[in-house]
């Protein structure tokens, strides 16, 4: 539904000879129809530039953006102004913003009607459509209120209703929940998920909160310094050895390995989550298994568990039990040695500092 290839954006400060900052560096992104795709990264990673390049609010320096089979970069023209074709294409892409961006001089209803005014619908048609959308987002009774009279969550609901007014197939969400408190965030994410299912809406969202990816995304990508470091469906990512996103989505804590013991991280999804693998392992091989840390959660609507366990003896001696675990459909990964300078090394193996920070945010 959304494909970017070789997308690059370079900002130049202070004229053509000024310092160049590469915000996006050869980004290839593929968002399938009907999925919720989350792009996560720290601020300054280029997420905002990416999402703003998708509807060409920001002109990419090079590369192409294709939305619903239409090459938007080809429509862009040269000047800073958007031509008619690009504007028509934009009207088929909804966008919600972190700070809502509602017009304070208009009522809730008039805000929702705005995209329809741009499309040139009649007054009656607009009012009908706006009422319908406000009902959909649960704000039917507040149609006459001004944005200033609404709470943050309500404002974002209006923002979403407005983004959907022109019946787009694609919704871009620019940190839509970052200005909201946790409870409101959940309700807004729930709404986005519902819309994704009911309307078959493709959602591309950017966020710095792991929780967002965890609760509604089908696929995710991790951005760092303008590049996509990792991407894929959440299920695949969790099964990928050494995946930073998986580790951040699902951190397990517990001590690392020493020469006399073997420490492994297990990831189980779906059916495997229900089976008593550990007790079976202990019984079959008559070994003492200690659980160092464990967590079970729902990611992308599926039960997923992670566990760090310790087996006696060296890794080489434990090949058979580990093979048994793999047979049971678990994903097994050897926990790395904690470095000498970090005795209480945080979660799963290769988590680089930025992701560890994200993980911390997530566990709050």
């Amino acid at each position: 539904m959304i494909t970017t290839s070789g997308l690059t954006k370079i900002y130049r400060s202070g004229g053509p000879r000024g310092r160049a900052i590469t915000a996006l560096d050869d980004v290839d992104l593929h968002v399938a129809e009907g999925e919720v795709y989350g792009v996560i990264g720290q601020s300054g990673a280029g997420k905002s530039s990416l999402i703003r390049c998708v509807n060409l609010l920001e002109r990419p320096t090079s590369g192409t953006v294709t939305v619903a089979g239409q090459d938007l970069t080809a429509l862009a023209g040269r000047g800073p102004r958007a031509g008619r074709e690009l504007r028509a294409a934009r009207s088929r892409i909804g966008m919600v913003f972190q700070h809502f961006n509602l017009l304070s001089s208009r009522t809730v209803q008039d805000n929702v009607e705005l995209p329809l005014e741009i499309l040139g619908l009649s007054g009656r048609e607009r009012a009908r459509k706006a009422a319908e959308l406000l009902d959909l987002v649960g704000l039917g009774e507040r149609a006459r209120a001004y944005p200033a009279q609404l709470s943050g969550g309500q404002k974002q609901r209006v923002g979403i209703a407005r983004a959907l007014a022109a019946e787009p197939k694609v919704l871009l969400s620019d940190e839509a929940t970052s200005a909201l408190d946790p409870e409101t965030t959940r309700s807004i994410l729930g709404l986005l998920r519902d819309l994704n299912r009911q309307l078959g809406l493709t959602v591309l969202l950017i966020t710095h909160e792991m929780d967002v990816v965890k609760s509604i995304c089908d696929s995710a990508a991790l951005m760092r310094e303008g590049r996509i470091v990792e991407s894929g469906t959440v299920t695949d990512l969790l099964a990928t050895p050494g995946s930073e996103l998986a580790a951040a989505l699902f951190p397990v804590s517990g001590g690392g390995e020493d020469p006399e013991r073997t420490v492994v991280d297990l990831t189980f999804q779906g059916d495997a989550a229900g089976r008593p693998v550990i007790s079976r392992l202990a019984r079959t091989y008559d070994i003492d298994v200690s659980i160092l840390g464990a967590a079970v959660d729902t990611v992308a609507g599926r039960q997923v568990g992670r566990m760090r366990i310790e087996l006696p003896g060296r890794y080489e001696d434990n090949v058979v039990p580990i093979g048994f675990l793999r047979e049971q459909g678990l994903h097994v990964e050897r926990a790395e040695h904690p470095g000498p300078d970090a005795p209480a090394a945080p979660p799963a193996g290769p988590a680089a500092p930025p992701v560890a920070a994200l993980a911390k945010e997530e566990t709050k």
């Binding site: 509807n55 609010l57 800073p80 102004r81 958007a82 504007r87 028509a88 294409a89 934009r90 009207s91 892409i93 966008m95 913003f97 700070h99 961006n101 509602l102 017009l103 304070s104 001089s105 208009r106 705005l114 995209p115 005014e117 741009i118 499309l119 649960g138 009774e141 507040r142 209120a145 001004y146 944005p147 200033a148 009279q149 609404l150 709470s151 943050g152 969550g153 309500q154 404002k155 407005r162 022109a166 871009l172 200005a179 909201l180 408190d181 409870e183 409101t184 959940r186 309700s187 994410l189 729930g190 709404l191 998920r193 519902d194 965890k214 609760s215 959660d297 729902t298 990611v299």
Partner: protein, 261 residues
């Protein structure tokens, strides 16, 4: 000089002032609003981003702004004659008043329009709106309270300028005060004129502030950030009418959509 002698003079002078200021304000708004918006749009990073137009327009505005009104009036004599057919009287005074006020108002418009949150412009762009739509539906309505305040300032400034219109025989309150108060030593009349001027200006300022504040309050510029507003709302909770608090129900949480805690 007795009151019955003063009254007709004051009445005539008041009407002359209102006539000149009214028309020149109208022209200043009609001319200054697009000019001010043009200054914002053509600025670097603006929607039309045209440095050449921006620099030229900005220079013209600056030159016109820096010219003392009395000199502008003299400099524009030929133009005034071309427009109104005369250089004497109320109509003739309107021309330099309006031309002096256009750049003045344009700068005020520029400041007001710049205050509009860029995010709103972006939102309308993302809906597929063109520049004209953005001007009509975002820039002007969103800056309306400031535009009204700017208009009030312009009217008050024009009343000040109009005192000099007496030099081209246009009459008005300022002219009355100079001719009678200064030249004929009728200080009574002068003070009465000053009082009338003070009242007129106060009324205009009050009306302008009232209108601007009304719009401002409606669109709720009071709350800077959602979070702060939330805190303040809670502090003020006891005073809220039940109707108001009922209007803001807590966010419903769809438990079915949430991950297991």
């Amino acid at each position: 000089m007795t009151w019955s002698e003063m009254q007709p003079l004051l009445e005539q002078a008041s009407w002359d002032t209102l006539y000149m200021v009214g028309w020149s304000t109208l022209i200043a708004v009609v001319g200054g609003l697009p000019l001010g918006i043009l200054l914002v749009l053509t600025d670097r990073g603006g929607l039309l981003g045209n440095q050449a137009v921006n620099k030229v327009t900005g220079q013209v505005v600056n030159i016109a702004r820096s010219m003392p009104f009395i000199i502008l009036m003299v400099a524009l004599m030929d133009f005034t004659r071309w427009v109104t057919g005369t250089t004497i009287g109320r109509e003739a005074a309107i021309v330099p008043l309006a031309i002096g006020a256009i750049p003045f108002f344009a700068r005020l418009v520029e400041t007001a329009v710049r205050e509009v949150d860029g995010g709103l412009v972006e939102a309308v762009q993302s809906m597929g709106g063109n520049t004209w739509t953005i001007v009509r539906k975002v820039l002007v309505p969103e800056s309306l309270p400031s535009l009204i305040a700017g208009t009030t300032t312009t009217i008050v400034a024009l009343i000040g300028y109009s005192a000099m219109a007496g030099t081209v025989g246009a009459g008005g309150l300022g002219d009355l005060a100079v001719r009678y108060g200064y030249q004929r030593f009728e200080s009574d009349l002068m003070w009465v004129t000053v009082a009338v001027l003070a009242v007129v200006i106060s009324v205009i300022q009050f009306a302008g502030d009232f209108a601007a504040r009304g719009l401002h309050r409606r669109s709720g510029h009071a709350g800077p950030a959602p979070r702060l507003r939330f805190l303040r709302d809670r502090d003020a909770a006891p005073e809220r009418s039940p109707e108001q608090s009922a209007g803001q129900p807590p966010e419903p949480v769809k438990s079915s959509e949430l991950p297991a805690p």
